[in-house]
Symmetry: C2
Subunit: 707 residues, 2 copies
């Protein structure tokens, strides 16, 4: 049975990997083809000397795409808005956020992110992939969303297996989005989960390996001999933003500008998080009262703003003459959207390119590739890079909260790459003799710094960028830059972006460390609610009443009456009680413990009591019990969980917190101080050999008692 | 204060990184120069037509190096034998292994591994680096080994900070040995620690980044313009085993041989672990009775065997003519030990090389480079590779248990690379038209498979190999091969190498999952020992007697007398009692609670009670108390820890195990079933906002009570 379950889980991971890869591939194909067509049409019109028509086509396509996405998101799956990483992270911390793991959320997430990215907003599709992957993980392991389960996955209907698959799905999402399998695993580990088990690591690792192989297999279709079989998608790019001839080494003096990048990243990232939180607060206060229509207008406004800025600003910039020793075509030859040196409004006799358009009037993926490009000294002017950083930063702040699936990775990388390249330009200027200094490599360090400052991840960021660029040479510097950015960001007091989103949504997220106040509070002082307890055989009416009047999720069951010796039998969950009341099967007329109750309990299966995720709990609001029923009794004995964690009343809350966080608890019973110790368990009692001895002893005792 | 401590910790990590890097650099320099000289002398004598003298020099140098190393290890630091990874892993699981974190262990570890590796044994220096790094971490954070602390690190004298620094040190060791910073962090995470905290991840990440930068800076000294400033060390190699033109892609049909590699790796790795365990058992039974001299003879025998095999076997092999299109010199020009195509006993007119000598009569690092070398089709014959795999495998099994610092990484990589290349030769033969198949890439996959089968790591293995070879192209395949090897290895039922070593040493290591029997045992049944309790004010004589007669480490203190209401005050540790008895300061004549006791308690500092690591606990064997003193009393009240974890007597042992493992406990009190619940704590009670409310409430209550 254990082997069967384990095999089933590996199979699920395999399926999860393949499906995530296929979904990501489809989204990529959609995005690249739509935006490829958009750019082709716009540029062709522009070449024909029709700038106004060109702009109108560009803006219209963007607005339609964004409008449709917002409409679908707001009306069919509001939980699909945003990146969803904060919600998945909360789920893996032990909080059930409604609506995040449903079929319609998944669908809208995928479609909406096609619209958002193809529509040119300053948002990415990688964050939504993480949510989509997690969602797929939940749906596959549960056989569907909770109200319509497939029946054959019952053994996976528990918190632990579900959380495992959700974490694997998140890893698969990153792996599929960035073609970065190890980065995906580390992202799931460092950013998403609140605990860590080696077993989970291996499942996630397998899933992302499958994703990688599947993505490569799918992409081979596109790089087939018959070219163009995937339209504008082309060969895809593997690694996504490959750096071919980056800087191999660094001088001691370069440490300074590199660490400066870290500081900038930390400050800008925190600034981004702070502005984002302010804007989200404003949205909540002002925009929500206009309802869905408000969100729609907001989306359209963002689309129009982005279109205008990204079209008009490059128009106002003079074209640059092509460098004579450019390794690539300059300007690039066709109006497809890939390649460096974009010709935009350049009509001179000499070959020329528009440097602002090369990064602004382009898909973000291509813009990043162009910023990372090595051996292209002085491709971008200082004013161009500065303009881009400022404008794009604010566009990103505005766009991230729009009611569509929005991701943060690619905008962060782009923004960081731009100011990184800016610093690179200055460094290269200051040491003109040193040929080894490469602006593209500084762009990479800049990207690392912004990610570090905004998300405050370290290992995952570095490994992801490593896999994205396939450039190992400056890894130690990238690590230091990321750490500096993180330290500076933490120093500003602004929270990491996902935690600040969690705060905004007021989710009861448990952070890694206990609050400093907790050392001074005891468990009983913190227990906000007086404990509500049931007797072993309790009146149905009272149970219903308690469920209606309190919001507690766990209740202690006390056996024995007031006169004789009482003790706690265990904990029964709200969800169990709801099921018991709804099914009515186990009501009994007398308040006594009988054997019948035990037999009735066998008619329930473990899976009947599964707590649904993502959907509203089956309530008791609609439940009507007749007076006769309410006067009957319910023997809770068979349903009680006798193994539950407790703390004594004077335990420090910091210890309680550690317990909650390490074991992922949802509630904990506080008991009075014990009067005696019946034993002490040490490590030696937990080893295999002593266990067998214990068992043997028990058996002998049992035999002795029987004989 | 918090900021100061945090800053001090970052500084410590910085120091740890720099020192580890310097130590690793020194060891490398030693190894490369000694073995460089050895190979130069041997090859020069051979060229002059003196094979016997050549062999004698070779064998003598090896025997002397190994002999000295064994002598030093056995006599000055027996804890330095082996890789030490199992011991550090146990320490991070919560077990204090004697002798592993001392100054002499560190020194012998570093010197001994120079001797072992330069002496040509089939062992690596990377495992010992991990132990050395961990040791450095412990020594730096504790200000020295426990008996002679520097006084200024007192705030780090606790289990948690020490464990953090040990984990960082382990990561730094890998980073320094392999120049693989991210791989080091992941190794510490996946293999070494039993728990995981983001904060630790960042410390480890910083440490390895510092290591990387320091190693590069040091290596730049060697690759300076004035060549040869580091003797035979040369430019070092960065990445260590760079693969320049490996296979970029794979056909669908290649999945089969690649997965076959995984299976071979799983089986061979398990076979290695099993043989190793058998041999270690034999050693324990037979060899230990001969004492240090037995260990010395064993080491010399291993050295002689290795020398003979690696010299005579290549002698018996005919030389191969050099391929006309070799990218490198063939045969390599000088008798230094780096470069492909070794000329060994080749005296023909045409340029020729000895393929077995190229991998066998060479340092292991160079042998690996040569096996990984790309675009060198058919450099090695099938029989050569087969001979090498068989002989080297057995040499590795024999050598790993010799009483010197021995590592397993490099031998594993070498062995795996050899059979991987063998499979590569067959695949290339079967599909002769396909030029893309590269034998060197198969060697890489083989190395991944053997590591997976022997150590059963996944993510860390892949990232380390990635950083070692700088070859990202076949990462997904490497992931799958590693996973298959791990699955096959686990399937054989043989434990991973380090866990099997832990078993051999009979350390009470807690594995990640509870034993299946544990669900059927309750806490009170497992508590092997009846609880020994003290009254709050206890007679000194009784305390001494209890400490002498039991081995318990924690004792419950009960307040109140038998007639009035009793309750547990908390837990007092053996180490605290020993200090209290030794200092005698707090003895009092009467068995009553007085204020004096509280004042005396202030004369102790937290650091006085620190449990020493790695050295014997300060015992009470030598402690002599006069009868008068024994009749006095001790008020334990001020020393009791009132916040301790408890479980109720009927809690399932599986839950207890989870508690032990998640929180790293050493002992746990089992209390009787509670009779009532005084409160329930939920997540909401633990959030910052509710905490402040609770505190306010407490203050108001306090004021009310006071007023």
């Amino acid at each position: 049975d254990h082997i069967f379950k384990s095999g089933a889980k590996w199979t699920m991971c395999f399926a999860l990997g393949v499906i995530t890869a296929a979904a990501a591939f489809a989204v990529n194909l959609g995005v690249e083809n739509i935006s490829g067509f958009k750019f082709w049409a716009t540029l062709t019109l522009l070449e024909r000397g029709q700038p106004v028509a060109s702009f109108l086509v560009y803006a219209l396509v963007n607005c339609v795409l964004i409008g449709v996405s917002v409409y679908v998101t707001v009306n069919y799956a509001p939980a699909a808005a945003g990146s969803g990483i904060a919600e998945v992270k909360s789920y893996l911390n032990g909080i059930d956020v409604p609506g995040i793991f449903l079929w319609n959320t998944l669908l809208v997430k995928l479609l909406g992110s096609v619209g958002a990215v193809a529509g040119g907003l300053a948002v990415g599709k990688e964050g939504p992939f993480v949510h989509a992957g997690a969602c797929l993980g939940a749906l596959i392991s549960q056989g569907g969303s909770s109200s319509n389960h497939f029946p054959w996955f019952k053994r996976f209907w528990n918190d632990r297996d579900r959380a495992d698959m959700v974490a694997c799905g998140a890893a698969a999402g990153v792996a599929a989005a960035f073609r970065a399998p190890v980065g995906g695993v580390l992202f799931a580990l460092e950013e998403m989960t609140s605990w860590f088990r080696n077993q989970l690591l291996w499942y996630a690792f397998f899933t992302t390996a499958v994703v990688s192989v599947a993505v490569r297999t799918l992409m081979r279709i596109c790089s087939n001999d018959k070219t163009g079989s995937c339209g504008f998608f082309g060969a895809g790019g593997f690694p996504l933003y490959e750096i071919t001839e980056g800087q191999e080494n660094f001088e001691f003096l370069e440490l300074l500008p590199m660490l400066l990048l870290g500081v900038i990243g930390g400050l800008l990232g925190s600034c981004f998080n702070h502005l984002n939180a302010l804007l989200a607060g404003w949205r909540k206060q002002r925009l929500l009262k206009y309802g869905p229509r408000g969100r729609l207008w907001e989306g359209l406004a963002a689309a129009l703003l982005t279109s205008t800025v990204s079209f008009l600003l490059p128009m106002m910039v003079a074209c640059q003459p092509c460098p004579p020793d450019a390794g690539e075509d300059c300007p690039r030859t066709d109006n497809s959207h890939s390649g460096n040196f974009v010709s935009f409004n350049c009509y001179g006799a000499r070959p020329a390119y528009n440097d602002l358009a090369t990064i602004f009037f382009n898909t973000q993926d291509d813009a990043i590739r162009n910023l990372f490009s090595s051996q292209t000294k002085n491709e971008y002017g200082v004013s161009t890079l500065l303009t881009f950083v400022v404008m794009f930063f604010f566009l990103a702040v505005v766009s991230y909260g729009v009611a569509i699936p929005t991701g943060l990775f690619v905008p962060s990388i782009l923004c960081g790459a731009a100011y990184g390249r800016l610093v690179g330009v200055f460094v290269a200027d200051m040491r003109p003799g040193t040929h080894s200094i490469d602006e593209g490599t500084y762009a990479l360090l800049g990207a690392a710094s912004f990610l570090g400052g905004c998300m405050r991840m370290t290992v995952a960021t570095c490994v992801m960028l490593l896999e994205l660029t396939s450039n190992l040479a400056l890894l130690p510097m990238m690590m230091l830059v990321t750490l500096v950015a993180k330290a500076v960001g933490d120093g500003t007091g602004v929270k990491p972006i996902y935690e600040s989103l969690i705060d905004l949504k007021q989710l009861p997220y448990l952070e890694p460390h206990p609050h400093s106040l907790m050392c001074h509070i005891t468990a009983v002082e913190a227990a906000g609610q007086p404990a509500v307890t049931f007797s072993r055989v309790e009146r149905v009416g009272r149970i219903l009443e308690v469920l209606r009047s309190t919001a507690h999720n766990g209740f202690a069951v006390i056996s024995g009456s007031a006169d004789c010796e009482q003790h706690i039998m265990g904990i029964v969950l709200r969800s169990q009680l709801v099921v018991l009341l709804r099914t009515r099967r186990c009501f009994q007329p007398t308040p006594f413990v009988s054997e019948v109750a035990g037999r009735v309990a066998f008619s329930y299966q473990q899976s009947d009591f599964v707590r649904p995720i993502s959907e509203a709990q089956p309530g008791i609001g609609s439940l009507q019990l007749s007076e006769q029923e309410a006067a009957m009794f319910l023997d809770l004995g068979p349903y009680v969980n006798p193994s539950y964690y407790v703390v004594q009343e004077d335990t420090s809350l910091a210890k309680v917190y550690t317990l909650f966080r390490s074991l992922g608890l949802r509630h904990l019973a506080v008991i009075p101080r014990a009067s005696s110790v019946v034993g002490v368990i040490t490590r030696h009692d937990l080893l295999g050999s002593s266990l067998e001895a214990t068992c043997l002893e028990q058996l002998t005792l049992g035999a002795g008692a029987a004989g």
